[in-house]
Protein backbone atom coordinates (compact mmCIF):
# COMPACT_ATOMS: atom_id res chain seq x y z
CA UNK A 1 0.00 0.00 0.00
CA UNK A 2 2.80 2.44 0.89
CA UNK A 3 4.36 1.87 -2.54
CA UNK A 4 1.15 2.89 -4.29
CA UNK A 5 1.25 6.12 -2.29
CA UNK A 6 4.97 6.61 -3.02
CA UNK A 7 4.54 6.12 -6.78
CA UNK A 8 1.51 8.44 -6.81
CA UNK A 9 3.48 11.12 -5.00
CA UNK A 10 6.50 10.71 -7.29
CA UNK A 11 4.24 11.01 -10.35
CA UNK A 12 2.51 14.13 -8.97
CA UNK A 13 5.79 15.84 -8.05
CA UNK A 14 7.32 14.78 -11.38
CA UNK A 15 4.51 16.51 -13.28
CA UNK A 16 4.77 19.56 -11.03
CA UNK A 17 8.54 19.80 -11.59
CA UNK A 18 7.96 19.32 -15.31
CA UNK A 19 5.56 22.28 -15.28
CA UNK A 20 8.19 24.32 -13.44
CA UNK A 21 10.83 23.51 -16.07
CA UNK A 22 8.51 24.26 -19.00
CA UNK A 23 7.48 27.58 -17.41
CA UNK A 24 11.16 28.43 -16.90
CA UNK A 25 11.87 27.70 -20.56
CA UNK A 26 9.02 30.07 -21.52
CA UNK A 27 9.96 32.85 -19.04
CA UNK A 28 13.74 32.49 -18.52
CA UNK A 29 14.30 36.09 -17.38
CA UNK A 30 11.45 35.98 -14.83
CA UNK A 31 12.73 32.70 -13.39
CA UNK A 32 16.36 33.87 -13.30
CA UNK A 33 15.47 37.04 -11.39
CA UNK A 34 13.21 35.11 -9.00
CA UNK A 35 15.85 32.45 -8.38
CA UNK A 36 18.47 35.16 -7.67
CA UNK A 37 16.47 36.33 -4.64
CA UNK A 38 16.36 32.84 -3.05
CA UNK A 39 18.75 31.86 -0.27
CA UNK A 40 20.45 28.77 -1.68
CA UNK A 41 22.67 28.47 1.43
CA UNK A 42 19.66 27.97 3.70
CA UNK A 43 18.23 25.46 1.23
CA UNK A 44 21.62 23.73 1.10
CA UNK A 45 21.67 23.54 4.88
CA UNK A 46 18.20 22.01 4.72
CA UNK A 47 19.54 19.39 2.29
CA UNK A 48 22.15 18.35 4.87
CA UNK A 49 19.44 18.28 7.58
CA UNK A 50 17.06 16.12 5.53
CA UNK A 51 19.76 13.73 4.30
CA UNK A 52 20.89 13.23 7.92
CA UNK A 53 17.28 12.68 8.91
CA UNK A 54 17.03 10.01 6.19
CA UNK A 55 20.13 8.35 7.60
CA UNK A 56 18.48 8.27 11.06
CA UNK A 57 15.34 6.70 9.55
CA UNK A 58 17.47 4.08 7.75
CA UNK A 59 19.25 3.31 11.06
CA UNK A 60 15.83 2.97 12.71
CA UNK A 61 14.82 0.39 10.09
CA UNK A 62 18.06 -1.56 10.62
CA UNK A 63 17.48 -1.51 14.41
CA UNK A 64 13.86 -2.64 14.05
CA UNK A 65 14.98 -5.52 11.81
CA UNK A 66 17.50 -6.51 14.51
CA UNK A 67 14.61 -6.56 17.04
CA UNK A 68 16.06 -3.54 18.88
CA UNK A 69 12.81 -1.64 19.32
CA UNK A 70 14.11 0.89 21.85
CA UNK A 71 17.05 1.79 19.61
CA UNK A 72 14.74 2.02 16.59
CA UNK A 73 12.50 4.39 18.54
CA UNK A 74 15.48 6.63 19.42
CA UNK A 75 16.56 6.82 15.77
CA UNK A 76 13.00 7.66 14.77
CA UNK A 77 12.93 10.50 17.31
CA UNK A 78 16.19 11.75 15.80
CA UNK A 79 14.67 11.66 12.31
CA UNK A 80 11.58 13.52 13.56
CA UNK A 81 13.70 16.16 15.34
CA UNK A 82 15.68 16.81 12.15
CA UNK A 83 12.46 16.92 10.15
CA UNK A 84 11.17 19.56 12.54
CA UNK A 85 14.42 21.51 12.09
CA UNK A 86 13.90 21.32 8.29
CA UNK A 87 10.44 22.86 8.71
CA UNK A 88 11.80 25.61 11.00
CA UNK A 89 14.56 26.52 8.52
CA UNK A 90 12.09 26.50 5.61
CA UNK A 91 9.65 28.76 7.47
CA UNK A 92 12.54 31.12 8.31
CA UNK A 93 13.44 31.15 4.62
CA UNK A 94 9.81 31.88 3.64
CA UNK A 95 9.73 34.77 6.14
CA UNK A 96 12.79 36.32 4.46
CA UNK A 97 11.25 35.92 1.00
CA UNK A 98 7.93 37.42 2.09
CA UNK A 99 9.79 40.31 3.75
CA UNK A 100 11.34 41.05 0.35
CA UNK A 101 7.82 41.41 -1.05
CA UNK A 102 7.65 38.03 -2.77
CA UNK A 103 4.41 36.06 -2.60
CA UNK A 104 2.27 33.55 -4.47
CA UNK A 105 1.19 36.14 -7.05
CA UNK A 106 4.49 38.00 -7.50
CA UNK A 107 5.49 36.13 -10.66
CA UNK A 108 5.07 32.69 -12.31
CA UNK A 109 8.36 31.71 -10.65
CA UNK A 110 7.14 32.48 -7.13
CA UNK A 111 3.73 30.91 -7.75
CA UNK A 112 5.38 27.61 -8.68
CA UNK A 113 8.14 28.01 -6.08
CA UNK A 114 5.72 28.45 -3.17
CA UNK A 115 3.38 25.71 -4.41
CA UNK A 116 6.17 23.17 -5.00
CA UNK A 117 8.12 23.82 -1.81
CA UNK A 118 4.92 24.28 0.22
CA UNK A 119 3.52 20.97 -1.03
CA UNK A 120 6.83 19.33 -0.14
CA UNK A 121 6.81 20.99 3.30
CA UNK A 122 3.34 19.52 3.94
CA UNK A 123 4.79 16.10 3.14
CA UNK A 124 7.61 16.66 5.64
CA UNK A 125 4.97 17.46 8.28
CA UNK A 126 2.93 14.39 7.30
CA UNK A 127 6.10 12.27 7.39
CA UNK A 128 6.84 13.40 10.96
CA UNK A 129 3.30 12.39 11.99
CA UNK A 130 3.74 8.97 10.32
CA UNK A 131 7.12 8.44 12.03
CA UNK A 132 5.55 9.42 15.38
CA UNK A 133 2.76 6.87 14.86
CA UNK A 134 5.08 3.99 13.87
CA UNK A 135 7.52 4.82 16.70
CA UNK A 136 4.88 3.79 19.29
CA UNK A 137 5.06 0.10 18.41
CA UNK A 138 8.41 0.29 16.56
CA UNK A 139 7.71 -3.07 14.87
CA UNK A 140 9.54 -3.96 11.64
CA UNK A 141 6.63 -3.45 9.24
CA UNK A 142 5.60 -0.14 10.77
CA UNK A 143 9.13 1.29 10.86
CA UNK A 144 9.83 0.11 7.29
CA UNK A 145 6.61 1.75 6.09
CA UNK A 146 7.23 5.04 7.88
CA UNK A 147 10.88 5.15 6.79
CA UNK A 148 9.93 4.44 3.16
CA UNK A 149 7.63 7.49 3.13
CA UNK A 150 10.37 9.55 4.79
CA UNK A 151 12.97 8.51 2.19
CA UNK A 152 10.54 9.50 -0.57
CA UNK A 153 10.29 12.98 1.00
CA UNK A 154 14.11 13.06 1.11
CA UNK A 155 14.36 11.93 -2.53
CA UNK A 156 11.92 14.62 -3.67
CA UNK A 157 13.98 17.36 -1.99
CA UNK A 158 17.25 16.03 -3.41
CA UNK A 159 15.83 16.46 -6.93
CA UNK A 160 13.89 19.67 -6.27
CA UNK A 161 16.75 21.59 -4.61
CA UNK A 162 19.10 21.97 -7.61
CA UNK A 163 16.24 22.44 -10.08
CA UNK A 164 14.64 25.29 -8.14
CA UNK A 165 17.63 26.96 -6.50
CA UNK A 166 20.73 26.28 -8.57
CA UNK A 167 20.12 25.39 -12.22
CA UNK A 168 21.14 28.41 -14.30
CA UNK A 169 19.69 29.70 -17.55
Amino acid sequence: MIWVLIFSELAAFGLFLGAFMVARAIHPAVFASGQATLDSHLAGLNTLVLVTSGWAAARATASARASQRQTARRWLFGAMALGTLFIAIKLFEYAGEIALGNGLETSPFFTLYFLLTGFHLLHVGLGIVILAVVSRGANVTGVETGAAFWHMVDLLWIVMFPIIYLVQQ
Binding site: W3, I6, F7, L10, A11, G14, L17, G18, M21, V22, R24, A25, P28, S40, H41, G44, T47, L48, V51, T52, G54, W55, A57, A58, R59, T61, A62, A147, A148, H151, M152, D154, L155, I158, V159, F161, P162, I163, L166, V167, Q168, Q169
Partner: protein
Protein backbone atom coordinates in the same frame (compact mmCIF):
# COMPACT_ATOMS: atom_id res chain seq x y z
CA UNK B 1 31.99 1.10 15.47
CA UNK B 2 32.64 0.10 11.85
CA UNK B 3 30.52 2.12 9.41
CA UNK B 4 28.12 -0.02 7.40
CA UNK B 5 26.46 0.64 4.03
CA UNK B 6 23.90 3.01 5.60
CA UNK B 7 26.63 5.13 7.22
CA UNK B 8 28.73 5.17 4.05
CA UNK B 9 25.70 6.26 2.04
CA UNK B 10 25.08 9.12 4.47
CA UNK B 11 28.73 10.22 4.16
CA UNK B 12 28.47 10.04 0.35
CA UNK B 13 25.23 12.06 0.39
CA UNK B 14 26.77 14.76 2.61
CA UNK B 15 29.81 14.92 0.30
CA UNK B 16 27.63 15.19 -2.81
CA UNK B 17 25.42 17.84 -1.15
CA UNK B 18 28.49 19.95 -0.31
CA UNK B 19 29.90 19.43 -3.82
CA UNK B 20 26.54 20.60 -5.22
CA UNK B 21 26.84 23.89 -3.31
CA UNK B 22 30.32 24.45 -4.75
CA UNK B 23 29.22 24.15 -8.39
CA UNK B 24 27.56 27.59 -8.92
CA UNK B 25 30.53 29.66 -7.65
CA UNK B 26 33.14 27.47 -9.36
CA UNK B 27 31.56 26.62 -12.73
CA UNK B 28 30.60 29.66 -14.78
CA UNK B 29 29.32 27.85 -17.89
CA UNK B 30 25.61 27.07 -17.39
CA UNK B 31 25.50 23.95 -19.59
CA UNK B 32 28.40 22.32 -17.74
CA UNK B 33 27.31 23.61 -14.33
CA UNK B 34 23.76 22.34 -14.80
CA UNK B 35 25.05 18.97 -16.01
CA UNK B 36 27.19 18.67 -12.85
CA UNK B 37 24.38 19.78 -10.52
CA UNK B 38 21.91 17.33 -12.02
CA UNK B 39 24.44 14.48 -12.16
CA UNK B 40 25.08 14.99 -8.43
CA UNK B 41 21.30 14.95 -7.85
CA UNK B 42 20.97 11.70 -9.81
CA UNK B 43 23.85 10.12 -7.83
CA UNK B 44 22.30 11.19 -4.52
CA UNK B 45 18.93 9.88 -5.67
CA UNK B 46 20.46 6.55 -6.63
CA UNK B 47 22.08 6.12 -3.21
CA UNK B 48 18.79 6.94 -1.47
CA UNK B 49 16.90 4.48 -3.69
CA UNK B 50 19.37 1.63 -3.25
CA UNK B 51 20.54 2.04 0.35
CA UNK B 52 17.97 4.12 2.29
CA UNK B 53 14.81 2.89 0.55
CA UNK B 54 16.67 -0.43 0.46
CA UNK B 55 15.60 -1.35 -3.07
CA UNK B 56 18.97 -2.96 -3.85
CA UNK B 57 17.46 -6.40 -3.19
CA UNK B 58 13.94 -5.53 -4.32
CA UNK B 59 12.40 -6.76 -7.60
CA UNK B 60 13.96 -5.03 -10.61
CA UNK B 61 10.59 -3.50 -11.53
CA UNK B 62 10.28 -1.49 -8.29
CA UNK B 63 13.94 -0.49 -8.33
CA UNK B 64 13.73 0.42 -12.00
CA UNK B 65 10.59 2.54 -11.62
CA UNK B 66 11.97 4.70 -8.82
CA UNK B 67 15.41 4.99 -10.46
CA UNK B 68 13.75 5.89 -13.77
CA UNK B 69 11.77 8.65 -12.06
CA UNK B 70 15.01 10.26 -10.84
CA UNK B 71 16.66 9.92 -14.25
CA UNK B 72 13.70 11.25 -16.22
CA UNK B 73 13.28 14.32 -13.99
CA UNK B 74 16.98 15.31 -14.00
CA UNK B 75 17.35 14.64 -17.75
CA UNK B 76 14.26 16.72 -18.50
CA UNK B 77 15.62 19.52 -16.29
CA UNK B 78 18.97 19.51 -18.10
CA UNK B 79 17.39 19.35 -21.56
CA UNK B 80 14.98 22.21 -20.76
CA UNK B 81 17.84 24.40 -19.50
CA UNK B 82 20.06 23.42 -22.45
CA UNK B 83 17.39 24.32 -24.98
CA UNK B 84 16.92 27.76 -23.39
CA UNK B 85 20.70 28.31 -23.35
CA UNK B 86 21.15 27.28 -26.97
CA UNK B 87 18.14 29.03 -28.52
Amino acid sequence: MIPDRIDLTWIALIGLALATLLVPPLVARPLLGNALLLTFAALKGRRIVLDFLDLRAAPALWRGLVSAWVLVVVLFAWLASAIVALV
